[in-house]
């Protein structure tokens, strides 16, 4: 390199103001606040001095979308205009008769499922998990990957949530642990309970955990302890709080967890908790009621995820009570069900729950026996045979539903297949 270039690089290495940072903490907080405001509003052109340009682009886009009825986003077109036909393609008629074009899909669904199994002895019940990916395949949809355990997308990568079995003094503790996922190796021994349904050992179970929900970065974990008198607890945790450990925290409030207060702020959490008058876990009946929402859960209700507070008035067990709070996008993104429940029931009368893609091109309907995925286009749910059907085990429930869109679908197909143990 030219010595003068070296000199220039050295002289300009620091910013214009050297160590004094133009990008101050104040500015960073200001930007974060704007982002918070924006995330709570529907998106619209915001920058005043670019408003005219943005508005013109939006208008042009709206005209094009209206006149041609196709997506402007990169990736597969919603409809293949080159293959227009007045006859419905075989197997894909819409509710109201003929379909003009063959639908294509822009989303992939990563499902996490839990099956509760009876144990060899009372108090030794256990849970097994599996993850599967439903993605576009051969012009339709298919199950492109499946494996044991829970594989969830989180920040930098995919993370695995597994049940670890720890033995001490002739007793077993089964806890959940999360770590960055690695491809299964033929030479490496499988982690306990990872590769196949965990075969419970014939040892007394001191404590156990099971996963009720896995989302963007939060999990709901139910705990059961059998030491002394049995107790049950439930917590919402961040993924990175689920570390490998041999025993649960005592007293229970020491358990790493996320309170409603930390998520929503006191101004929201306290008014939501106050009417419920719930008792804190491990606290005597005379103790102050839980105002901060220390113990709560994210549960599945028909068509959406909901927050419920845990009341320990019973002492040894909790009772979940509905909270008048809407879960933010940071906890559950894309929780809107695109199809109406009436349409879902018309297609599948035995439907118990449903998930729809953010791209509104598919709906996965859950019944007691299976999960059936139907095309969904133009606001209509196809009434033909489903494109994919996943048989469910007895008492198997959905604990995770994550979506990949457009360009990320292929990446997920490739990476998830490599990370899940193939059956």
């Amino acid at each position: 390199m030219d010595p003068k270039d070296n000199e220039l690089q050295k002289e300009l290495e620091g910013g214009p103001f050297g160590p004094q940072d133009g990008f101050s903490e104040h500015l960073k907080r200001r930007i974060e606040q704007r982002i918070d405001e924006e995330s709570q509003k529907p998106r619209k052109p915001r920058v005043a001095w670019l408003a005219s340009v943005s508005a013109a682009l939006v208008m042009a886009s709206a005209v094009i979308v209206f006149s041609h009825w196709q997506s402007l986003m990169d990736g597969p077109l919603a409809f293949d205009t080159a293959a227009s036909s007045t006859e419905a393609p075989e197997g894909h008629p819409l509710l109201h008769g003929t379909v003009q074009q063959q639908p294509s899909f822009r989303a992939a669904l990563l499902l996490g499922l839990r099956t509760d199994q009876p144990g060899p002895q009372p108090g030794a019940e256990y849970s097994t998990y599996r993850t599967l990916l439903i993605a576009p395949q051969d012009g339709g949809l298919g199950k492109t990957a499946e494996g044991a355990g829970i594989l969830m997308p989180y920040k930098m990568n995919f993370w695995s949530i597994v049940t670890e079995s720890h033995e001490s003094a002739g007793e077993e503790t089964r806890t959940l642990a999360a770590s960055m996922a690695k491809a299964p190796s033929a030479s490496a021994p499988a982690a306990p309970g990872l590769s196949s349904p965990a075969v419970p050992q014939a040892k007394p179970v001191k404590a156990s955990e099971k996963l009720l929900f896995a989302g963007n970065r939060y999990l709901t974990v139910a705990q059961k302890t059998n030491e002394g008198s049995p107790h049950e607890y439930v917590w919402v945790k961040e993924v990175e709080q689920l570390t490998s450990r041999e025993q649960l925290s005592d007293p229970p409030l020491r358990e790493p967890h996320v309170s409603l207060r930390s998520l929503f702020g006191d101004a929201v959490a306290s008014p939501a908790m106050k009417p419920l008058q719930v008792r804190l876990p491990g606290e005597p009946p005379s103790a102050t009621r839980d105002q901060a929402g220390e113990s709560w859960a994210i549960v599945r209700k028909q068509g959406h995820w909901a927050a419920q507070a845990a009341d320990y008035t019973d002492g040894s067990r909790y009772e979940l009570k509905d909270l008048s709070l809407t879960l933010p996008a940071s906890v559950v993104a894309h929780d809107r069900l695109a199809a109406s429940w009436a349409d879902i029931k018309r297609v599948l009368p035995s439907a118990l729950d449903a998930f729809s893609s953010p791209t509104e091109d598919m709906v996965a309907i859950v019944s007691e026996r299976d999960i059936a995925v139907y095309p969904f286009h133009g606001g209509q749910l196809a009434s033909s045979a489903p494109l994919v059907t996943i048989a469910l085990n007895r008492s198997e429930t959905v604990v995770m539903a994550q979506w990949a869109l457009d360009n990320y679908v292929d990446e997920w197909k490739r990476r998830v297949k490599g990370l899940l143990e193939e059956k």
Partner: protein, 194 residues
């Protein structure tokens, strides 16, 4: 670069990814770079603040549009450049010529005087000598020199940020080096650069 490795995951975002947390991490890693680049183009602190805010807002809105054809840094700097130039154009159209623009673009203004006035207005903030000279250059030479010497981007990366061919980058860099050398010479000889 470690920051680049840490943001490899942007390629694998899902619609349910925590956009706010990701943008917060991007600000931690690249906030200073974005601000410095915005400042080097506009030469005004408050404009650099506004532009930095708009850049990260745009990133928040369009996180999934990152196509991973370039590095995260060049992607952010390209957005910053476009935002800064739009900001300048809109200011120009409003017949407002902010202090600090190159003398080649603000007729009659002395760049050195502008720089000094800027410094005084900012109080304790002190530009290094070399930065003062760089900020006197016309924008198209200023930014290529900043991308080369401060951000140490490759020719290919500079071309991506600037939206020009590598040949154009090389030509501008050649002229930028010459101009800065002349400014340094004049300074050494005792006269303020014009």
């Amino acid at each position: 670069m470690e920051s680049e490795a840490n943001f490899e995951y942007l390629k694998y975002l899902s619609s349910s990814s925590d956009s706010k947390a990701i943008v917060a991490e991007l600000m931690t890693a690249y906030g200073k770079d974005v601000w410095n680049y915005a400042y080097s183009i506009t030469h005004k602190r408050d404009q650099a603040d506004d532009i930095t805010q708009e850049v990260f807002l745009k990133v928040f809105r369009n996180l999934y549009s990152f196509r991973c054809e370039s590095s995260v840094k060049t992607w952010l700097l390209a957005i910053t450049r476009n935002m800064s130039l739009d900001y300048r154009r809109s200011a120009f159209l409003r017949k407002v010529v902010p202090i600090g623009f190159s003398p080649f673009e603000s007729a009659g203004a002395s760049a050195a005087a502008s720089a000094s006035a800027e410094e005084e207005a900012l109080g304790k903030m002190a530009l290094s000598d070399t930065w003062r000279l760089v900020l006197q250059l016309p924008v198209k030479y200023r930014e290529v020199l900043v991308l080369f010497a401060h951000y140490q981007l490759s020719m290919k990366e500079m071309a991506e940020v600037l939206g020009v061919s590598e040949g154009t980058v090389k030509s501008r860099l050649f002229h930028a080096r010459n101009k800065i050398s002349k400014l340094k010479e004049k300074k050494t000889l005792g006269s303020e650069g014009q």
